[in-house]
């Protein structure tokens, strides 16, 4: 858990690190006693948490396609055994290489015997992964799942600042901070990814967690999270530029879309304010340290003995307080600011998914329009004596009818998936916000308690001046 020890520094990276965790992103359940998704719960906006209870059928053999598109409603299965295995990934930083930093991904599984996935049979295991591996994983998942309505968690950004960071020395504060930010971001990213019941079953994810060596991801420039989202959402952008708005027959989608728009605006605003707080808190720490030194000097030159001693004590108190501010700034950042930053990025993914639904609808509509045209053309051909052309037309129509049917199915499928995803997402969001913000408030509590200790120690010193 999170503590404000004055000796806390960033230079120590351990696998189970002491750095403030965005903990209690609730761990994932991978128990084998699972059910298929309940039929009715997919259709309505049901608060019942699908993944806290039963999980999806876990099977390594089912091909990807089954996971992506079900042909029809799966048979309703009776619930439910409580989750028995939990998987918690932790990430530690190993070393910096030319190609990028390496990270140690440490997975702990709480009840390995209860899972059917071979990779989770052991209680604890580690794999080594490069930063580019994480980006590679995300790009694969995004290209597979985003366009059919799954909210794929975005990977941490490759910041330009990070790439050109100058190595001043081993204990370079800003370099250490950068690595820690990245490590923490990767940990949260991975946690969110494995928590997603569908994504956890994805072979790329399993490979990522299991294989000792992954082939180096190619061309990571193109694989930045933002780049992927841009690529996959390019079509979605085209939708935004369309003047014809979708004929939304489902009020749920309209309402949710608006809700996420508002949330986006507000979270960005809040995030900006919190970032400002982090900045000012760091400044406060630096300025307090400088004042402490100055007060010590003043104490030295003061020729009244008792006052001189009191001023030195004041300097010591301020020095301790400066460390307190530094620790608090870290809490401000890692708990509060990063939570908001993560959700700003997540909501971008959510909005993308909604846009994909519109695109899917459009595709369906286009097929229908084309079918209509073809039918009209065929009707005209009836009166001409061109049996070949007529046959061709009939063939095309048959094909198009199939397309229209598929289009409708795709649209219904993506709508279904989005409903489920949004329900899951919102539930997660509520949990995340509540847990992490409370943790953050507890950090504020700790700071005040320390402050009280320091000033209580100083007060008698001040009173002792005579």
């Amino acid at each position: 858990s999170f503590s404000f020890s004055p000796t806390f520094t960033f230079s120590k990276f351990q696998i189970l690190s002491r750095i403030p965790q965005p903990a209690s992103l609730p761990a994932l359940d991978i128990s084998t006693n699972s059910n298929g998704p309940k039929q009715d719960s997919l259709m309505d906006d049901d608060p019942e948490d699908l993944f806290a209870g039963a999980t999806e059928e876990v099977s390594l053999d089912s091909p990807e396609r089954d996971v992506l598109l079900s042909d029809g409603p799966s048979p309703a299965i009776t619930p439910i055994t409580p989750p028995t295995s939990v998987i918690a990934p932790r990430i530690g930083h190993i070393e910096e290489e030319e190609g990028g930093d390496s990270f140690d991904v440490h997975i702990s599984v709480s009840d390995p015997e209860k899972t059917s996935l071979s990779v989770f049979k052991q209680r604890d295991f580690s794999v080594k992964r490069r930063f580019s591996d994480f980006l590679g994983l995300h790009s694969k998942l995004a290209s597979k799942y985003l366009h059919i309505g799954y909210i794929v968690p975005p990977a941490p950004e490759k910041s330009i600042v990070g790439m050109t960071k100058v190595k001043v020395g081993k204990e370079d504060q800003s370099s250490n901070e950068f690595v820690e930010k990245r490590r923490s971001a990767l940990e949260r990213y991975l946690m969110r990814t494995v928590k997603h019941p569908i994504l956890l079953k994805d072979p790329d994810v399993l490979q990522f967690l299991e294989n000792s060596e992954l082939p180096r991801a190619v061309n990571t420039q193109a694989l930045s999270s933002a780049g992927i989202l841009r690529m996959v959402n390019k079509a979605a952008d085209a939708v935004n530029k369309m003047t014809i708005k979708m004929n939304e027959s489902d009020a749920w989608f309209e309402e949710k879309q608006q809700h996420f728009e508002n949330l986006d605006v507000q979270l960005r605003k809040l995030h900006a304010s919190v970032e400002s707080l982090v900045c000012h808190r760091k400044e406060l720490s630096v300025n307090t340290a400088q004042f402490a030194k100055s007060a010590a000097m003043l104490g030295n030159s003061e020729d009244h003995t008792a006052l001189s001693r009191a001023l030195s004590q004041l300097a010591e108190v301020e020095e301790k307080i400066d460390q307190l501010h530094q620790d608090q700034a870290n809490a401000d950042f890692y708990l509060f600011s990063e939570l908001l930053g993560d959700y700003v990025r997540l909501i971008t993914a959510v909005k993308g998914v909604f846009d994909h639904r519109i695109k899917t609808w459009q595709k369906w509509q286009d097929s229908q329009v084309l079918l209509l045209k073809k039918r009209e053309a065929e009707a005209k051909l009836q009166f001409t004596n061109k049996p070949d052309k007529l046959q061709q037309a009939k063939d095309e129509i048959k094909e198009l009818e199939g397309k229209v049917q598929q289009g409708e199915r795709d649209f219904e499928q993506i709508s279904k998936i989005i409903r489920k995803e949004v329900g899951r997402f919102e539930k997660e969001r509520v949990k995340d916000f509540k847990t992490i913000i409370v943790k953050y408030l507890e950090s504020l509590v700790q700071t005040q308690q320390q402050l009280i200790k320091y000033w209580e120690a100083f007060l008698p010193e001040a009173k002792a001046i005579s």
């Binding site: 508002n262 507000q266 030295n300 020729d303 509590v445 001040a462 009173k463 001046i465 005579s466």
Partner: protein
């Protein structure tokens, strides 16, 4: 004109106790600033006097004074040769509301870009800041007067009595360009001389020690004062951020899903309250620590000036001695040289005697003031931290019990 905010006419009644000096309030002469009015570009102080001295027509009376008149009084002390042997109480700094006014102006301009609640909140904050600056300037002017009233010799000064009693405008114009230029050159000469006399080792151990001490002390107080100001500014900035965070959380609380609504609103409320505490902490640090350091920066400068005057008198005395020797050698103008030498000797000894007492008093005052303020600082820090802790713990308790 500031949009949405009138030209301020703040009328404030103040607690008259001087804060940075520990002065014995003598029944024979008590001075305080009982009232003050801030107008567009000036501040009017109501100086209130209670005295049993026969010099005054009444036992209790008040006059209205502006900052320039305080400066006139201070300068008259500086220029008075009879007071060369005293630490002249430092002049109060000019009331400076520029920064605060600028902020209010910016707020007025930006009114359209924020919600009504945000605007009202920020306006209240800035008004509170303005009020705090105002209270401070009043306090500093009052301290000056109290120091004069407490000084055994200065309290009898005629200009001081005129300042206290004459109920018309003193019509002291600010210094014109020529006079300001003269002042400038005087200061240049003084600092050049200051270097000169600082190098001369004093035969008197007491003064030698004081010189070394004051030179170093003054520089370190200056540094501490600047660093303290920066620290407090960061503190205020952080409090401002919390204000914005509270507003954003509030908006989220009114918009978001049921599950999070109450949560956000509660946290918003907490940030709002805790922000007020943080702002108070910064304000109290400003009052008890920053102002203390600033005051002793000015006082230590005044003490240095005293030492300088004494050194000048010493140099004059030594020169007069040399002049007398020369005159005796040439046997010309001996009487004149003798008189001159006696005058210089007398002046030097008089200054030395009173300077010694002044410097001892200075130390006593300084120690007392630091003690008082450091104790009060620690007590206030504790009070606020405990208050903050309580707010945070109760909020966390409520949030934990709701989930």
């Amino acid at each position: 004109m500031l949009k949405g905010f009138r030209s301020h006419d703040l009328c404030v009644l103040l607690q008259p106790r001087a804060m940075n000096v520990d002065l014995e309030m003598d029944a024979t002469l008590q001075v305080d600033i009982s009232d003050a009015l801030s107008e567009r570009d000036k501040v009017k102080f109501t100086v209130h006097t209670k005295s049993t001295l026969p010099n005054f027509k009444q036992n209790e009376f008040s006059v209205v004074r502006q900052h320039e008149e305080f400066i006139w009084l201070h300068d008259s002390f500086i220029e008075n040769e009879d007071y060369a042997g005293y630490i002249i109480p430092p002049a109060p700094p000019r009331p400076d509301f520029d920064a605060s006014r600028e902020k209010l102006q910016k707020l007025g301009e930006g009114e359209g870009s924020m919600t009504k609640e945000e605007f009202t909140k920020m306006k209240q904050e800035l008004e509170a800041e303005y009020l705090a600056i105002f209270k401070k300037t009043v306090a500093m002017h009052e301290v000056f007067l109290c120091r004069v009233a407490a000084h055994p010799v200065l309290r009898k000064d005629l200009n001081f009595h005129v300042f206290l009693e004459y109920n018309q405008d003193l019509s002291v114009r600010g210094k014109n360009k020529k006079e300001k230029l003269e002042d400038f050159f005087k200061n240049v000469v003084k600092s050049a001389d200051g270097v000169l006399v600082a190098g001369v080792k004093d035969v008197d151990d007491f003064f030698e020690h004081e010189k070394t001490f004051l030179l170093e002390y003054h520089n370190r107080v200056k540094d501490a004062s600047a660093k303290c100001d920066r620290m407090i500014r960061s503190h205020k900035n952080a409090a401002d951020d919390m204000n914005r965070i509270a507003s954003s959380l509030y908006t989220l609380g009114t918009q978001d899903s049921m599950d999070l609504c109450k949560f956000f609103l509660k946290v918003s409320e907490l940030f709002d309250k805790t922000r007020k505490v943080e702002a108070r902490v910064a304000a109290d640090e400003d009052l008890k620590l920053a102002d203390l350091l600033k005051y002793y920066l000015r006082e230590s400068q005044a003490a240095k000036d005293l030492l300088y005057r004494r050194s000048r008198a010493l140099v004059d005395y030594e020169n007069a001695n040399k002049g007398l020797d020369k005159a005796r050698a040439k046997n010309r103008d001996v009487l004149q040289a003798e008189t001159s030498q006696q005058l210089c000797c007398h002046k030097f000894e008089k200054i030395s005697e009173s300077a010694k007492q002044e410097l001892i008093d200075f130390k006593t005052r300084r120690v007392a003031a630091f003690r008082k303020n450091l104790v009060e600082l620690a007590e206030l820090e504790l009070k606020h931290a405990k208050g903050n802790l309580q707010l945070l713990q109760s909020c966390v308790g409520v949030l934990n019990s709701n989930t």
